[in-house]
Amino acid sequence: MKMLQKTAQLAAAFLAVISFSACETVVEVPIPAHTPKLAVRYMLPDQEPDTLFYQLFPQYQPYINHSQSIYSGAELKGVNDAMLTVTDQHGNVVETFKRSNGFGYGASDDGYYEPVTRFKAQPGQKYTLSVSAPNYETVTGKLTMPSALSGLRASFQKISAEEPGGNFAIVQGRVSISLPDNGSENNYYVLYGVLLDDRYVANGRDVFQEETDEDAALVGNEFQNIHFSPILYGDANPFDDKTFNGNTVSFTRKAMLYYGKANTPPRYLRIYVHSITEDTFKFLKSLKMYNDNGNNPFAEQTRVLGNLEKGYGYFGGFTSTYFDIELPK
């Protein structure tokens, strides 16, 4: 990574030279007038979306914002007077929402919502999201909940433990995962690691993080599209089953466990595999690419792929499977 960053810096310097003798002129590009639309981000879970759930997965919390012309530099504030409903395939309202604070670290409060009924969606069932707000067209999105994964296995091998200066202790190790893929369909996944205490509860502070592994001989190195996603910050790393469709894929990834020195060390590592819809995969993958390429002048432009009618963003859904690993003391 360091090398690539260095290369990118060099390349950017090279580009700067091109405009060395250049002059700039403000030009009027006839961009068509833009009608503001709602921008939505919501992930429908198959588990109860309580406060702890959104603390663990803040990026899944319902969020409503809007769009504006590229010529407008006004701050894009979240929309607080939106009405959201989720209906099932029979047209029954199965979930409504109310305004809420943002559960993510550093999140602003504008535009966040939380479910009222804490509905648990069923795999294979169809759902529709509808979002409306004054002065905006109503936005709708549809999905079919993905089927559940079964037979997930995982293990953890500790490499070292250290207590550097500061408040955190670090355990370094490798996680090995065996993920059986259903070959009758195209599947899309997001992989997480969560540290739990002896009551199987996450405290929201301890962090599991994948690290770059220099050992090229590790199992599953050929599946370079498979990586853990960060829990609290950053964009998800979704992956598809194109390279292992219908087979059990086994891979090992290096990981660091960070926990407070003053607290009890985590007891369990829970490996979550979220089976997501194809639209969710496209949205998350393009969003990550968009954010990663922000400062790279050589990258092709990226279109963030949504699935909503008359609006921006996505209505996604996931079906969760997990495997708990007891951590060595």
């Binding site: 090279f14 700039e24 006839p30 590229i70 550093g106 050589f298 092709e300």
Partner: protein, 791 residues
Amino acid sequence: MIPFFTRLHLFRKPGNLLAFACLFLLLSPGAAWAQQAKFTINGFVRDKQTGENLIGVGIFNPKTGQGTTTNNYGFYSITLPQDSISLIVSYLGYERLSFNIFLNRDLEQNFNLTANNELKTVEIVGTKEEKIRESTRMSTISVPIAQIKTLPALFGEVDVLKTLQLLPGVQSGGEGSTGLYVRGGSPDQNLILLDGTPVYNASHLFGFFSVFNADALNNVELIKGGFPARYGGRLSSVLDINMKEGNMKEFQGEASVGIIASKVTLEGPIKEDKASFIVSARRTYIDILARPFMNKENGVFGYYFYDLNGKVNYKISQRDRLYLSAYTGYDKFYGQFDDSELEDKMHVGWGNLTSALRWNRIINNKLFANTHLTYTKYQFDIGNEQTTQFRNDRGELETEKFSLNYFSNIRDFSLKTDFDYTPSTNHYIRFGAQYIKHSFKPGALQIEESNPEPGAANNNFFSQTLGHESGVYVEDDIKITDLLKVNAGLRLAGFYVDKKLYHSLEPRVSARFILNENWSAKASYARTSQFIHLLTNSGIDLPTDLWVPATGKVRPQLADQVALGVTRTLFDEAVEVSIESYYKAMNHLIEYSEGADFLGTTDNNWQDKVTSGEGWSYGTEFFVQKKLGKTTGWVGYTLAWANRKFPELNGGEMYPYKYDRRHDISIVVSHQLKDNITVSGTWVYGTGNAVTLAEARYGIGSYNTIEDIGSRNKFRMAPYHRLDLSLNQTKKKKWGETVNSFSIYNAYNRKNPYFLRLEEGYDTGNGRPTAVFKQISLFPILPSFSKSFKF
């Protein structure tokens, strides 16, 4: 969708079709010549003063209208009935020569032509002296170097490719660019040959100059369509450039001093009329001139490029001749930053190396062979070297070094043999075969550290792919009747890579039909294939573009092009008019996927960064040229469309190609004010390039704002137009002559767009945040002067 294999039953086996083609050529109407008593005259046509072979010289019998032209090595062969004949040897810019003989035996006859110092003009013909109305070839342009040297030039540096960009159907990429975009094709689809050797990147200074030093060149020919079967490997054009051979008679030189570059060319006999040489060198000195004005505390930057050309040739015998030629050129941008602890050097460089060994052999008076062994390499590299000095815990001075070099290259070894066979004046048959070994390193990373971190090591990361390309062809220029002439040919091309064999059977045909004394109609069809791709950034063209092969996953590019046209001459052939329409369909084109870039391409993962699609281009080209008189020049206009469709780009919808240019106009005028003063001017206009711009932005989370880029290439930059002027004054000296060249680039200071960028800020009136698009323009009005010396 273009089918990869023809479905005609007869043609299922490529060998059958090739055999059929040979049979057709031999049984065609002109084959009747074989039954009459005829004799052959063959030889070379050369410049009397320099001994240089002349390409495309017309040799014809005015009594019968039968004739031929010299090939790329000045060789001709003409077979005529036993009779008293009077041959005319004619070449623009040279005095006509008449040769009378009673032909009753085979004869070897060389002709030496005397230059008449008249300005030669651009010829929109198959060969230079073959009349536009009579040639079967269409979409072909020959540009005399003398013409190029009279036209206005950026910074006084005359440029071959810039002259070609002034012709219909040929577009520049943008401000100052030497990239050629021929009939909606991309730059990688041009086969650029320097002495028969491919040149992969023909640009210097980020595309503002070409690598071809006009002083070292002899002939330039561009083919935009109706490709003869002897050319293969690219979809859109062939640019065939021949270097001078070197004066066989006497030593001579040419030098010039300009604002940013100087050059020198020396040539002469090694042994008179037996062997000669030519060497040429050019270097820019912006870096040297700017250095005294730089503040070293802010870092030192520099840029230069150089070209070196060399060629020797040796007549082994009357029938054999060897040519050895080489070219190398390199661009380097560098920077250095120093402080007390850190020395940081970086560079970006790119360049070509080509070399060719050719052997001409006259096998008999009707059969000429050329065997060609070539090597070519193109590489770009980005490097960084850091030296850090610090004191360790013991107070000792320590030095750490880190260097990183990223490069990408393509190398070719090629062996080719071509035969020219002229059994009669009704047939000109060419056939041959070629093998190319391609070696690709799309990306390689070299890292060295004096004190690597634990677990890390000095490393090289790269992958290499080998591709084996081959081709065989046969073509014949057949005079079927006095009115109808056809060039028919067939090429069979193959490419072996990743244990997969691709092959392509490519019929080529072009025909001319004389409608009346002034008008002729022409038509052509050509299928072409290309086994290599250029991965380019869709924003700005850069030397960092990657050359990659077709692979098991990425298929070869294919194209079918048809063209129809009419030509006529006016005012006793002083003016020529041509109108051509074309339609080109391209398949298996590749582009970077959305979000992808070249960085980090150190193995074959580039295949995962690309997506494949189709392209179409069509249009009509109008060309009016005045060739004779004190005022010469042309007006060209192209009305064209170029579109692309990729399932994974733009939501699968068709979109305009970046260089889709609806209107393209060029006006070129050159006027001889006095015997020693020529003034010239060019004006160009082109529809603005297509660009993708963000139309809106939206929030998708706290502090996460997304720009909505609309449809790909939906918007247009401002139109491009520019006027250039020049004046050339020649002064005779005892030792030779000098030429003073004054030129003004962009005479009315048009701010032409290079690219657009969005800048966010605050409205100075009301303090509200706002955003504007800013257009980056490169060159304002640029007067320049250069002085040339010929001795």
